[in-house]
Amino acid sequence: MRDDEGLESSNQAYLRESNELSESFQKSARKRFSGASGLLFEQAMAQTRMAVCLSDPRQEDDPIVFCNQAFERLTGYDAADIVGRNCRFLQGPRTDPEQVQRIRNAIAAEEVAVVEMLNYRKDGSTFWNALHLGPIYDDEGNLRYFFGSQWDVTDIHLARSEERHAKAMAREVSHRLKNVFAVIGGIVNITGRSLNVREAAQSINSRIQALGRAYEPTLDDAFMGTIEIGQAIRSVLKPYDPAGDRITLEGGEVRSEPNAVSTIGLTLHELATNALKYGALSVPQGEVFIAWKQDHDAEGQRILNIDWKETGGPKPPENPECSGTGLSIADTLLSYSRGRLERAWEPDGLRATMTLPLSA
């Protein structure tokens, strides 16, 4: 529901407007039908863009006894075609019977109701009609008329269904992507087994899967053309901290071209793997703090800065071997994107800083 907020509120604004108009109409109608201010009422009715009609429930089949010009414009019928007929002539094959029933119930109970339904114009074209209906009583409190105010909400419906469609597509793509990565994982493992290189296959697989995780959350807002880096970072690192108490992540929204995700994802994967083997994540009390932010280089170009700090890990080696195979892959990858990974062993663990240019 959250994502429909914009639409909902525009819908609500419309309903509020519709309510106010209906109320004022009701008042004018009362005056008009008790004989006063007739001219003013006629003018308001003629000028409002809201389609309005009145029906007489005391006559057989509750026929429409009045409609304004906006009603004629909306439905394509002339007043002469309209007056004397029950308003069901606006319904058609795709009108939801449940909504029709709601109208019937409201009329039977003499209640105010708002119903959204598909209606048909004279030329057969359809529109989404937000129908607001309610009873009008005379001065003695007897039911005299039902008013109906119609508003064409086709645009709102269209936007809603387009948004739903886009979301359904994103979900489908995400689902398929996950399956593709799962299948790739299976193929790599099976191949590694048959070639007797299971360990190699596993390390290839863990990189592929890290890549998959990095891309996965980017699908949600793929339509924006850029992706939010924080989501990718969280998703890549999640498996290394299943309980959520070893890795602390901190950073605001930084957006980037989608292709930066592979470099970021793989570099973080290598750092995490290293920490798991030799660093802070290899001992129970070790922790990793990761902070990212957007910065600018000397030329004023946007860069991403990721700070990786391990604490509580095992004593760093005398002659720290700072580049394992994994990290040298990350170095190479970063150099192709004109990024850098600087590493330093501090007394309480590895400190690494990754910088990566972000395209404008």
Partner: protein, 126 residues
């Protein structure tokens, strides 16, 4: 540690994607657990009828709109532990919420998946 004797353990794997099924099959083989691989609910039902099964791993979406729901229902009825394995947590959200079973999101390492399922057998029923 696994208390159950692996050689006596038999698991059902319902998975319609052959590569994933094969990978999982190997993962169970690695820990000497017998795994029966079904690609459809009908096959799975047959295994459930014919074999003594200790636990099951169910792929949620089985293609063409089919889900593992009937098998999950049967397992629940029999009180057998199972894990749902899916790449689409959103679409099956309602169904997943209704079923009280652990969920592993795809893609996941086959060995980890196997280990988690075997852990479930050792756990006393909740």
């Amino acid at each position: 540690m696994m208390k159950t004797d692996p050689a006596m353990t038999c698991v059902l794997v319902l998975e319609d994607e052959p590569f994933i099924a094969m990978d999982l099959g190997f993962a169970f083989e690695d820990v000497s657990v017998r795994a029966l691989i079904a690609a459809t609910c009908a096959e799975a039902r047959q295994y459930l009828a014919d074999e003594q099964i200790d636990a099951a791993l169910l792929d949620v979406n089985l293609g063409a709109g089919a889900t593992c729901e009937p098998i999950a229902a049967e397992l629940e009825e029999r009180g057998l532990p199972f894990i749902l394995h899916t790449g689409d947590l959103d679409r099956v959200g309602e169904f997943l919420r209704r079923i009280d079973a652990p969920v592993i999101s795809k893609p996941a390492c086959a060995n980890d998946v196997a280990a988690q399922l075997l852990d479930l057998i050792d756990k006393p029923a909740a």
